[in-house]
Amino acid sequence: MLDIEDLQVLRDRQPLRYSLQVHRGEILAIQGRSGVGKTTLLDCIAGFATATAGRLDWQGHSLLGLSAAQRPVSMLFQDHNLFEHLSVADNLQLGLSVTLPQDRLQEALDSLEVAGLLTRRPTELSGGQRQRIALIRTLLRPEPIVLLDEPFAELDPHSRQCATDWTRRTAKAAQKTLLMVTHQDEDVQQVADRAIVLQRPA
């Protein structure tokens, strides 16, 4: 279980506080108005923002003392998920386990309709195509915790349907603990087991 209790993060010198629990294999949608601290929470779990107080445990072990590279987390950022100077194929290989069966990757590429893009550079892709490529890599990595920051924001309705279906199917099959920031209620309905709404600090 991912256990967050009274976790405090300073942003622009203002404290943000979080308390929540997510069970192993559960998919949690995080909603709330812009600026409320959704991305900061993901950054803190991934090790990119420093907590000043509180607890952040995974399976009973604290993550707070670990660097970003040591945490069992795979994260999809809002942007800059792909190296612009490498091909899509090279980008996909980064961070994936060498034992990942090729057919799983192929199935993902087919499901998200990006199989024909492997030789291209990210600069040659649309925003939606880039997002789907990055989504595949994030979910196929061996890390048990997956953090998605507005993963479907740039997708058209058809791609969105494919991506949400595949995300839920893949996360459930691999027992991933998934936290997803989204503004869309339909994403919550199609992907998440439950949702929380973060409130602006008083």
Binding site: S67, A69, H80, F83, H85
Partner: protein, 518 residues
């Protein structure tokens, strides 16, 4: 990885510290304080400042109309080639220019008969001509880049308000240039103040000697170490203070790719366009003439009987020194930037500033000062006739490291800004990280390497202290030929050096443009 960077920083700092140990009178060498009240010392300091100030002022004033012509008339014939010539003129070894100037304006010069009986290239006139030639192209590029930063909206607003030419100059053009003028003046001043080869070759007697040349003469001709130490400290105090002042003012960007992508700017009238073409053509001619003046000298030489081995050896030596120093400088710079990048990623600003300063600290002391310091320190310990070349390579490498740092730093920091979180999130190891970083940095590395080669190829100051006759470099050979009036051989050697440098400039610009387009 960060440990390797700290080691590289420590190595560079250690050499500077050792040079200072030499300068503070290690092994019983003492400053000659009586020199400070000597008329010779005063005239050397005054001449160093005067020639640098005049050179900088002339270069900046003369560059302005050229930069305006390039800015307002982007359709000028061979504009890109002219801008490449500007880069070549600024970075080419000064001995090439000196050979060309002597062939053109020396006692037997091609156009000397038209300059009157009193004309003498040697002394202040020759030094000013050479310094303006070397620095005007640099000033042109800086001023052009500043003009290109004027936004379209300013010109459109000026047109809406029906501003006249004088108002546009006062309200738009001058404010765009003004901020960069003082740093530009300061930078050119420092370059001219630290200029060695030009004054060595074209300076004449005690009345036209700078501190750098006086240091060389007192060390190599008179073997007067206390005098060399006193002069070196004076040089360090003036040049070092100026460098620190310049650092506060901010640097001058000049190697940016020329951009004519601006959509709207005032179109000059027919008369102004003619003036622009005239200024442009005159400048191009002035830059080309000293290079073309090498041709008659080459024609005098019987190329079939020419002793090619005499220049092949020094050419290879120069290339070898430049290649080793350039590669070493690039690797050191890459390593030195690791602690800085780490500190920035961790948000430790003060530490990042410290690492930033440490990686460029070699700029504070001029090449001559560091060389003299080390020379005096090592002289009792080592056979410098035997080990001298090792120090030529080592010092060349360490003194160009700051330029490599300045070239690589923006690209690496941009990489970190864009991808550091992703790299950490993907948990990339050293090999995987290099696999990702290298394609991103490849062009920047090649560009920097070409620049490092150019800088190391032209060195005369370090070689004059540590060099040996067994391993003469091409610039030093040219100096030897020119000093004994063997202008034919000097011209052939200069042309060879020029061709090597032109190739590097082409390489540099080719990859730099690719990097900007990427």
């Amino acid at each position: 990885m960060v440990a390797a960077g700290l080691l590289a920083l420590a190595f560079s700092l250690a050499v500077t510290v050792l040079a200072f140990c030499g300068l503070i009178g290690f092994d019983n060498a003492r400053l000659d304080t009586r020199l400070l009240s000597d008329g010779y010392f005063h005239s050397v300091v005054w001449f160093s400042i005067k020639q640098a100030g005049l050179s900088a002022l002339l270069a900046l004033i003369l560059a302005w109309p050229v930069a305006r012509a390039l800015y307002y008339s982007p359709g000028l014939w061979l504009r890109q080639s002219f801008l490449s010539l500007c880069v070549l003129s600024f970075v080419m070894p000064t001995l090439i220019l000196i050979t060309g100037l002597v062939a053109l304006l020396g006692r037997q010069g091609l156009i000397s008969p038209w300059l009157g009986p009193d004309w003498n290239l040697y002394g202040l006139p020759g030094i000013l001509i050479a310094h303006v030639y070397l620095n005007l192209p640099f000033a042109v590029r800086v001023q052009l880049l500043q003009l290109q930063h004027i936004p379209d909206s300013s010109w459109k607003l000026a047109a809406q308000l029906k501003l006249g030419a004088w108002q546009r100059l006062r309200l738009i053009e001058w404010p765009a240039l003004r901020a960069g003028m003082l740093p530009l003046f300061g930078f050119v001043f420092v370059l001219c103040f630290n200029s060695f080869a030009v004054v060595l070759a074209l300076g004449g007697g005690p009345r036209a000697t700078t501190l750098e040349v006086a240091i060389y003469q007192s060390l190599k001709y008179d073997f007067n170490i206390p005098e060399a130490l006193t002069l070196a400290w004076t040089q360090l105090l003036i040049a070092g203070s100026l460098f620190l002042l310049l650092n506060r003012l901010g640097g001058s960007q000049w190697l940016g790719v020329d951009s004519t992508r601006q959509h709207w700017k005032p179109r000059p009238g027919a008369a102004m366009q003619r003036l622009h073409r005239l200024v442009y053509a005159s400048t191009a001619l002035a830059l080309l003439l000293p290079l073309l003046a090498l041709v008659p000298g080459i024609l005098q030489v019987d190329l079939a009987r020419f002793d090619w081995r005499a220049i092949a050896g020094p050419a290879l030596t120069s290339l070898l020194i430049a290649a080793i120093a350039g590669t070493g400088a690039l690797l050191l710079a890459y390593a030195m930037l690791l602690p800085l990048r780490f500190a920035r990623t961790e948000g430790r600003t003060t530490l990042a500033l410290l690492f930033d300063w440490l990686s460029t600290q070699a700029l504070v002391a001029p090449a001559m000062v560091v060389s003299v310091g080390l020379y005096i320190l090592l002289l009792p310990q080592l056979d410098l006739d035997y080990w001298g070349m090792l120090f030529v390579v080592l010092l060349n490498m360490l003194l160009i490291v700051p330029y490599a740092v300045q070239q690589l730093r923006p690209r690496l920091l941009q990489f970190d800004r864009q991808y550091e979180r992703l790299v950490r999130s993907l948990k990339l190891g050293l090999r995987a990280r290099l696999r990702v970083e290298w394609p991103y940095m490849r062009r920047a590395c090649i560009t920097s390497f070409a620049l490092m080669l150019l800088l190391a190829m032209g060195d005369v100051a370090i070689f004059s202290i540590f060099g040996t006759s067994n391993w003469t470099t091409l610039p030093w050979l040219i100096y030897g030929y020119a000093g004994t009036y063997r202008m034919g051989e000097a011209s052939v050697a200069s042309l060879l050096l020029l061709l090597i440098c032109a190739l590097m400039v082409w390489l540099f610009q080719h990859f730099e443009k690719g990097q900007q387009d990427a």
